[in-house]
């Protein structure tokens, strides 16, 4: 009933927008990373033609990631912070999502509202709240001293890796729980009933039925929070502000905003994107599949 040209015309403005403001910018990152440096002003000079690309700067940055070199420690720190924060988030998020999906009955609606509540409070607001609580004279230290758990209040906010990891968990768990909940809700209960009828104990039923069936949900939700965590620089800056807890994102930020070497920042960004490509691809396939589940 519609003319054939209608849909491409509808899509055109959005597609053009994304090409100009997503693809071209990404190509600009590549051109700067493989570009040269102005000899006088030390400004990066992008090379737009792939034939002119200069690979020496990129090679130098890449060798920085070898064990013992400049970026090795930062890379290890980033990977371990994300791994620890991710496992912590799953340890909190999975039981909570499981409880709400399987057991909460009358409280389910109110629990859902409370779960979505952090989405309405901006990330920075939550970090501000966290900093207020953990500051030297904040409620946490007051409680610790009052309860005689410690005699001198600990310094949470100056280069304490544990605080950074806790803050990452606090910041990102909400984004993990909702997709987990959606995937747990999708599990057909009759499968569980069948497992129980065939003699599985509740724990066996969980281990052999629920857990395997929720694996795609766990993977998807983990990727959803791992991607922004890898590009996070503000959380370590707010919570610690010390070079001893700086992540890969902080390095990129410093090379760009603090230092005079945007070229190295662009190279690091490319390396980060290449490193995250697998996660990004997995996530994109998941979204594409979820969209296809609807009848077109």
């Amino acid at each position: 009933m519609y003319p054939r040209w209608l849909w491409p015309v509808f899509a055109a403005p959005g597609v053009v927008w994304l090409i100009l403001l997503f693809l071209v910018p990404f190509y600009a990152v590549i051109s700067v990373a493989f570009g040269g440096v102005d000899p006088i002003f030390q400004n990066p000079v992008p090379s737009w033609n792939p034939l002119d690309w200069d690979y020496t700067a990129m090679g130098k940055t890449l060798t920085g990631f070898l064990p013992g070199n400049q970026y090795w420690a930062v890379f290890l720190r980033t990977a371990s912070y994300v791994a620890l924060a991710l496992s912590g988030s799953l340890l909190i998020g999975y039981p909570a999502a499981y409880y709400i999906s399987r057991h909460a009955r009358r409280t389910k609606a109110i629990l859902l509202v409370l779960l979505i509540l952090p989405f309405w409070v901006s990330y920075m607001m939550r970090m501000l709240a966290w900093v207020n609580l953990f500051s030297p004279a904040g409620y946490i230290n007051k409680f610790l001293v009052w309860s005689h758990l410690v005699t001198t209040p600990p310094d949470w906010l100056n280069g304490n890796p544990a605080s950074v990891i806790l803050a990452l968990i606090y910041g990102y768990v909400p984004y993990l729980i909702l997709p987990l909940l959606a995937s747990l809700d999708r599990i057909d209960r009759s499968v569980l009933d069948a497992a129980r009828d065939l003699g599985a104990s509740p724990i066996e039923a969980f281990l052999h039925v629920t857990l395997p069936l929720s694996k795609p949900g766990i993977l998807g939700a983990s990727v959803i929070i791992a991607l922004p965590m890898f590009g996070d620089y503000y959380t370590p800056n707010i919570i610690s502000g010390s070079p001893s807890t700086s992540m890969l994102g902080n390095q990129i930020d410093i090379f760009f905003h603090g230092g005079s070497q945007p070229g190295v920042g662009a190279a690091l960004t490319l390396i980060l994107s290449a490193f995250l490509a697998v996660l990004m691809a997995y996530y994109m396939i998941t979204i594409a599949k979820a969209q296809k589940e609807y009848p077109a």
């Binding site: 009933m1 899509a11 927008w17 979820a290």
Partner: protein, 315 residues
């Protein structure tokens, strides 16, 4: 079973029986947390408490009668909102400006990203072929790219390619639209699939032109999803820190998250908490209103509403 090993077990006083019962109940309660999921309930409620309590404490300090954000000096409803002649949100031009800048960005983002995204969703849902698949692929990218990468890429492109756009409010709006577009597409397309094509076909059979079918059938049916995506765009634009910071022109481009970010590293007044609290109140009331309107619009079609919510969480 302990009853038999006890001396003088033949006669058990009622009080002892009650005690034994209580002990047994308590031990099964602890030993078998999975029977009735008290352990899970505990984790869930503890998580919710921990996730919300700090925010409530932060809002509490926006009503502090002193200059501290850590020790409570009495309740003052208005001081940091408009009472204080120098530092309150209302009287401090910098704070007032950040609030306006955040709302301006979110408003412009909604105005541009919503129509662009709705058209893109319609186009991508029905356009077939190689170019359509490629466009669909590009559309998914902003959803999965870390904001740091997008912020850096956009600031480079404005520096080297589109040199006529300086770091400014314009640049910030362009950046915000770029990352919010895909959310609009996902939400609207989910709704489009769940309403199906039969209504349009019926309209065409009854003599509607394509333009009429789109305007009189598709658009009204899409309205709840359009409203939902407007709320989504508002939420992610208000919440955004990275893109706004990378494309910022300095103090006059500061948004509320940027302001909060710089305040966390210095000793700040409770007016920052007041600023953050205003944002929370604004978002909460906007969401509440949108939820009510949407409920009115989708009355009597529970199934599709659930489908759309699912589509949002499938992200």
């Amino acid at each position: 079973m302990t009853r038999h090993t006890e001396p003088g077990a033949t006669v058990i006083s009622p009080r002892r029986l009650i005690q034994q019962n209580a002990v047994r109940k308590l031990s099964t309660w602890i030993a078998n947390p999975w029977g009735r999921p008290r352990f899970l309930a505990l984790i869930t409620w503890a998580y919710i408490l921990v996730s919300i309590a700090p925010v409530i404490v932060a809002i509490q300090f926006s009503f502090n009668d002193g200059r501290s954000v850590t020790s409570w000096q009495g309740f003052n409803l208005t001081r940091w909102y408009w009472g204080d002649p120098d530092h309150s949100v209302w009287h401090n031009p910098a704070l007032q400006h950040t609030l306006l800048q955040s709302l301006k960005l979110a408003g412009l983002d909604i105005l541009i990203a919503t129509p662009l995204g709705v058209l893109l969703a319609l186009g991508l849902a029905r356009w077939r072929g190689f170019a359509a698949n490629a466009s669909n692929f590009i559309m998914l990218f902003p959803l999965v790219t870390p904001e740091l990468v997008m912020g850096l890429a956009l600031s480079l492109v404005f520096l080297h390619v589109f040199t006529f756009i300086e770091p400014s409010t314009t640049a910030q709006v362009l950046g915000h639209v770029t990352f919010s577009l895909s959310y609009v597409v996902i939400i609207v397309r989910g709704r489009l699939f769940s309403i199906g094509r039969q209504y349009e076909e019926a309209a065409a059979d009854l003599g509607a032109t394509p333009a009429q079918a789109l305007r009189l059938v598709v658009l009204p049916l899409l309205l709840p999803a359009i409203l939902a995506s407007m709320m989504m765009v508002f939420a992610i634009s208000i919440d955004d820190f990275v893109i706004s910071q990378w494309l910022s022109c300095g103090a006059s481009c500061d948004t509320v998250p940027i302001r909060i970010y710089s305040a966390t590293r210095t000793s700040s007044f409770p007016s920052i908490n007041a600023l953050a609290a205003i944002m929370v109140f604004l978002t909460l009331s906007a969401f509440g209103a949108a939820y009510l309107v949407q409920r009115l619009m989708t009355r009597g079609e529970r199934k599709s509403r659930r489908g759309m919510a699912k589509g949002m969480f499938d992200l």
